[in-house]
Symmetry: C2
Subunit: 585 residues, 2 copies
């Protein structure tokens, strides 16, 4: 029971030396990868580089204790950093103490929200983000992030919250390009692109085994960091207008009480909620993918608690919102991490780096970090999905494109909200106009099929309708209209059979519509019959007066209903019949 809420109790029990070795090995590799990445994402979030390191220490420890994924690596990620920049930028200017306070408050709010959702077991809320909306949002975020970093490659100042503004601002500033910065930024970008694609094969040609080649290639950004620091020092680029990371405070993250400024919380709770949901969805998808590969399980509601604790820990140690990242988790997994302890060891690694390595990073060009970000996020841009969605589902395509366009034009927050809104509206629209068919008997069988798709037998005085959807309030009004229109078009009809094989639920509104249909058909002398009602649906109907008041019968199979009613002479089924038929149910 306790290990349900403290997964560490489960895996900790069987922890041994061989697992320890594997976890330590993975931690070393992830630490090397994380140092430049943490600095880069802090830059993307508009925060001092050290905040990125702070966000990669305590959150990892807390996730290791409370998270259910064995291999998820938590920390700053690209999309959440962009959302943090957007939310904090709306309440303060970058570089001010208020801006940092806003970022920390976002981590606090997001942590509390995630934990509360987890305790309430409300993880299902993340379902509101459909795959097409998520992939549209990630594509658009990738484009926004890459564009936002171009100014660092050019060595100019530019701004903008949305794509047109960013491009306009860049176009105005392009005349001020610092050529030394560009001379670092462009080669580094090209190098990192090559590392991503070509480094592993090249290393394997040099004789390295596949797995080692893979891990070595992952250290590409570290090589770029080292080389560009050397270049800055060798050529004295600091005096030539190349922006550098500069002094990073040495030491472990400070313990800090996050602000409890109510007016700030009022301004930030909506973006914090969006950050929570996006972060949770990204994290859970990664965790599920990795867990399935080793036939492990994750518990989404406990993941909420783990991520919530990680974010609260981030806020208390001067960090900003974190979540489980795809790239780092994959590296952790591939490097052989077996338990969340690998994450805790990574935290130790980053802690040591914060204590001892930061002076070495003084001369690191910002352009190098920007190149790291650009190369990382461009892999998020997915150009195949739109065509696939167009072929498969126009509604999903619409939600996908709307999310991309609105995110690019109006920024990340409106992008997510309208993606959810469009997805929900399309879903409700479809649910409010379900598929229904008039069915007839396939000759010589007991099967009933759509009269428009198959050659089937029908009888003028018996109308069989199959509704392919639960009867809920979303389509209750539609149902009444549909049945009554079918009757209005067929004056010979004496019996209506509602074939319920695909009706998985009938809510109170659906029941009321059925009652209304029953009364109206009874008024005009038509019987209403049900066939193939599912067990749980029938159980609930029996708790009401509907079955008693039904001006017709309930049949176990559509075939029996059709056969019996077909024999009916065609005499009108008047409401008087009512009591007679009632007894037969």
């Amino acid at each position: 029971m306790l290990s349900r809420y403290l997964p560490i109790l489960e895996w900790g029990r069987t922890y041994n030396r061989s697992v320890l070795t594997n976890d330590l090995m993975a931690a070393v590799i992830v630490t090397i990868m994380l140092i430049p990445q943490s600095l880069a994402y802090a830059l993307l979030a508009g925060l001092p580089p050290v905040v990125g390191l702070y966000a990669s220490i305590m959150p990892l420890v807390f996730y290791a204790i409370l998270g259910t994924s064995r291999t998820l690596a938590v920390g700053p990620v690209a999309v959440v950093s962009l959302m943090t920049a957007s939310a904090a930028g709306a309440v303060a200017a970058q570089g001010t103490a208020q801006y940092l306070e806003a970022a920390i408050t976002l981590a606090m709010l997001s942590g509390v929200m995630l934990a509360v959702l987890g305790i309430l077991r409300a993880g299902f809320l993340a379902n509101l983000l459909s795959h097409p909306v998520i992939s549209g949002f990630i594509t658009a975020s990738g484009i926004l992030i890459a564009t936002s970093q171009l100014k660092h490659i050019l060595g100019v100042s530019a701004g903008g919250d949305n794509w047109p503004d960013m491009l306009g601002s860049l176009a105005q500033a392009i005349g001020d390009t610092n050529w030394w910065t560009l001379a670092i930024g462009v080669p580094v970008t090209l190098f990192l692109f090559w590392v991503r694609r070509g480094a592993k094969p090249a290393l394997m040609m040099l004789g390295l085994p596949s797995r080692v080649a893979d891990m070595t290639a992952k250290a590409g950004p570290v090589v770029a960091v080292a080389l560009t620091i050397l270049a800055v020092i060798s050529f004295g680029l600091a005096d030539k207008g190349v922006n550098l990371v500069g002094a990073i405070p040495q030491g472990l993250p400070p313990f800090a009480l996050p602000s409890a400024d109510l007016s700030l919380i009022e301004k930030l709770w909506v973006p914090a909620l969006l950050i929570s949901i996006i972060g949770f969805v990204e994290s859970v998808s990664v965790a599920q993918t990795l867990a399935a590969k080793r036939r492990q399980r994750i518990i989404p509601d406990q993941e909420l608690i783990g991520l919530g604790a990680a974010n609260i820990a981030s806020a208390f140690s001067g960090g900003y919102p974190v979540t489980g990242g795809f790239a780092r988790s994959a590296v952790n997994f591939d490097a052989g991490a077996e338990t969340p302890a690998a994450g805790a060891f990574t935290a130790v690694g980053i802690g040591l780096a914060t204590l001892f390595l930061t002076p070495l990073l003084f001369s690191l060009p910002i352009a190098t970090l920007a190149a790291t970000i650009i190369v990382a996020v461009l892999s998020l841009v997915d150009l195949k999905t739109p065509a696939e969605l167009w072929r498969y589902s126009k509604a999903d395509f619409a939600a996908h494109i709307a999310t991309i366009v609105i995110t690019l034009l109006a920024g990340v927050e409106l992008g997510v909200i309208s993606g959810v809104g469009v997805g929900l509206a399309l879903y409700l629209w479809r649910a409010s106009r379900p598929h229904a068919a008039i069915v007839g008997r396939v000759p010589e069988t007991e099967h009933f099929r759509n009269v428009e798709r198959h050659k089937v037998i029908t009888i003028p005085h018996v109308l069989s309708i199959r509704v392919d959807e639960a009867l809920t309030y979303l389509n209750a009004r539609w149902l009444e209209g549909y049945v009554l229109e079918q009757i209005a078009d067929r004056p010979a009809v004496r019996h209506v059979i509602l074939m319920c094989s695909a009706i998985n639920e009938i809510d109170a509104s659906g029941l009321e519509s059925l009652e209304a249909i029953n009364h109206r058909l009874a008024d005009t002398g038509i019987g209403l019959h049900l066939s193939e009602v599912k067990g749980p649906v029938m159980d609930r109907l029996k708790r009401t007066h509907f079955i008693e008041e039904l001006n017709g019968k309930v049949f176990l199979s559509q075939d029996r209903a059709f056969s019996e009613l077909a024999r009916d002479s065609g005499d009108p089924v008047l409401p008087a019949d009512h009591h007679q038929t009632r007894g037969m149910i």
Copy 2:
């Protein structure tokens, strides 16, 4: 085509003398009923009485031209009047010119919104209000309205937007009760309650035919009006602190351009939207009920246009938001109205009253109007529904009670919004955890049923899963978890059959989950098979690579799938099998 948008062209073509007589007759009866009602509802909306009359003239004419219901009677109604008072009261004080301007702006905004929704054919949005939410809202509104009128019966000043405030304010003011006002209010209320229940039988005992007795009883409020005016004049109650209607401006409604004050529109658009939706839902329900009785049809999207035009007309003639009312439409129907012309004739009747009758109403006590309102709205309070809902569906019960409680405590706007929110959240929650069952074969048949409900045959290496819900983004994540958990619990399983008989749709997220399940099962040597896939669902799946990549087969029937896979020796179905099985599909 044109008559689709101008229904008057259809019924106008066959208009003749007998129809004219019936319509005129109905119009006279409705006019007599409407005069006190219009004054009372204007009072409820916090507006001068004459505004209620204005709102009962031009809107009726425009609805007669554009509406599709033959018998719907449009005008001020109780719930919409309460909502108007709440919205206008939030921006101005009652009795000021700004308050009236706000009410007129609400009519304008609501009219434009309804018309735009109609042109976009977006009537389905009204589906967001489930029956339990609507009935909860109406019950709570009835209680709020009745309570708000008690001050007029007592002859005191009191306020409050929500129930506790209203009661508190009344309790404070009760000491100031004007006994003369009470002496009018209480007997009139009792008289009107008696009229509603006992007048018809009493009149029939006096020898009147049933229908005439019914219509005469409907004139009860007019009798109360006449008698209390006489009482005021006879006893000189005007000098004894009894509040009277006072001078009503004589003359036809003024033509007026509604305000285009943007800051006002910004404040009022949300309440205007809620008024539109509530008004539309009430109106369409009434229209559908009446249309069904005569086997006529209404077209909801065209109703939006008709009601939109009615509200715009109301705004241009100094009125406030209107909609189709239940009581007046029922009277219109029972009095024999055959076409919307009856509504236009009613408009003429009210116009004549505005021209000539208003001086007679000078001495009408406000208490009489308050009594009319109380008696009308208490019939809206429905105390049986909660118990019925509790028995049938806890989720619907929760939405119903939440709507009642929030409406009483926080007012009509938050009440509607949270009703929609709770309904939607519960719906999405259910949709995200659909019913699924492991099924087995009923002995000696081809039927497959839930293993937990029936004694059925299963085979350890074949797992048949039936999901009773469309596979959409709301449950895509659930589906992956569910299938993989079932597998994790059953190490012997070699084949999974997904029985798709109740899967009415698979959206892009659902497809992605199926792909993920397929890959994960393939990784562990398990085959994934589909059975009984519906025609439209299969058509769309064929447009993707899913069927090609399926590590198993698609079977027409569950029975065939089960029989064939049962014969499988139990050798692992390795991904290598893949190409072999693919050819068999």
